[in-house]
Amino acid sequence: MEWWTQIFDAFKQADIRQVVYVPDAGHASLIESCIKDKNMRAIALTTEEEGIAVLSGAWLGGERGVLLMQSSGVGNCINMLSLASTCRFPLAMFVTMRGQWHEFNPWQTAMGQTLDDHLKLAGAQTLTAQTPDDVGPMAAATLAQAFTGDGMSALLLHQRLMPVKTFE
């Protein structure tokens, strides 16, 4: 079983209705499954910070959602995270990592090496899934921290989980 299917199953279990995302290779299959699911609305964003505002609106309206993004996207979110922290909107983020493991593009390293600290400074809890076995339990825990703990939480999906990207 592919690791991402465990995230999808956790979304179903948690009754996730809005899935906001910026397309990413590491999340591609998960996003495809969310697009096909009749009970989920997959919402493509132009920038990741939009997603935090969309999910806050969704929560005001009684729906649960999640934000899917790549590590570089976390950098686009910093001020908008204050919306979630100030109002204690539940916020569950699933971040595919770059700049961490056999990275060929040095421009990915800045966010890849610092986003865990950025998220913690912004008030989010983080977990890092290093292996496929970590993913299911950590996805469930990330959703629980957000929706039963009224908090901000992020699951960082280590670059070891992704196929190595090259330009070859």
Partner: protein, 202 residues
């Protein structure tokens, strides 16, 4: 770029406009962008179903989108300023892609950053927010410059199938602050309680 004086003389007054938008319909779900528009909606009556932002600049339209998708049977009205709109213009494309029928967005455009000293925004020059929204894929877009335009636009703002966007040119004026509660958790809980009942705050 010298400061444009033209919005000093625009006929529409924002506090009168907001009364026409939010004063007629108790069932509207209202999001206001930070700054002047948050004070505006409060001046028309602080309602539990108002969510006035005090920060998160650039997020008002996107927040309205999430709310509109979660509550498809309720009319959602986003009222925000030109500076706030400029900071989140990608949201027009995101809204157009989802095309919620129940979402209406108004920018009160005084061509100034009101909270920081009335400096010109880009709309004081040639930037056309209505054109940007239209080109982003929003089908129903209007420019409101006077009372006649506003009277004609009100049915669309309040009831036309969305997404609907209007730029309402308003006078640049310094007005009294009419502040809503600023505790974000309180604003969230009162909104959810009014909309969802006790289940909303359990």
């Amino acid at each position: 770029m010298p400061q444009s004086p033209r919005s000093d003389d625009y006929p529409l007054r924002r506090r009168e406009v907001v009364k026409l938008l939010t004063g007629t319909r108790d069932d509207l779900l209202v999001i206001a962008g930070l700054g002047s528009t948050a004070w505006d909606i409060t001046s028309a009556g602080d309602r539990d179903l108002n969510f006035p932002l005090w920060g998160a600049m650039g997020g008002a339209i996107a927040m309205g989108l999430g709310l509109a998708l979660a509550q498809p049977d309720r009319r959602v009205l986003v009222i925000t300023g030109d500076g706030e709109t400029l900071m989140g213009m990608g949201s027009f494309a995101t809204v157009a892609l989802q095309a919620p029928q129940n979402l209406s967005i108004c920018t009160f455009d005084n061509e100034r950053y009101g909270e920081t000293g009335m400096q010109s925004t880009h709309t004081a020059a040639d930037t056309d927010l209505a054109g940007i929204a239209r080109a982003s894929g929003i089908q129903t877009v209007g420019l409101v410059q006077n009372q006649t335009d506003l009277d004609a636009a009100l049915p669309d703002i309040l009831d036309a199938p969305g997404p609907v966007y209007h730029v309402i040119k308003v006078r640049a004026e310094k007005l009294d602050f009419v502040l809503p509660p600023k505790d974000g958790v309180h604003l969230k809980n009162r909104f959810r309680h009014a909309l969802l009942g006790d289940a909303g705050i359990s």
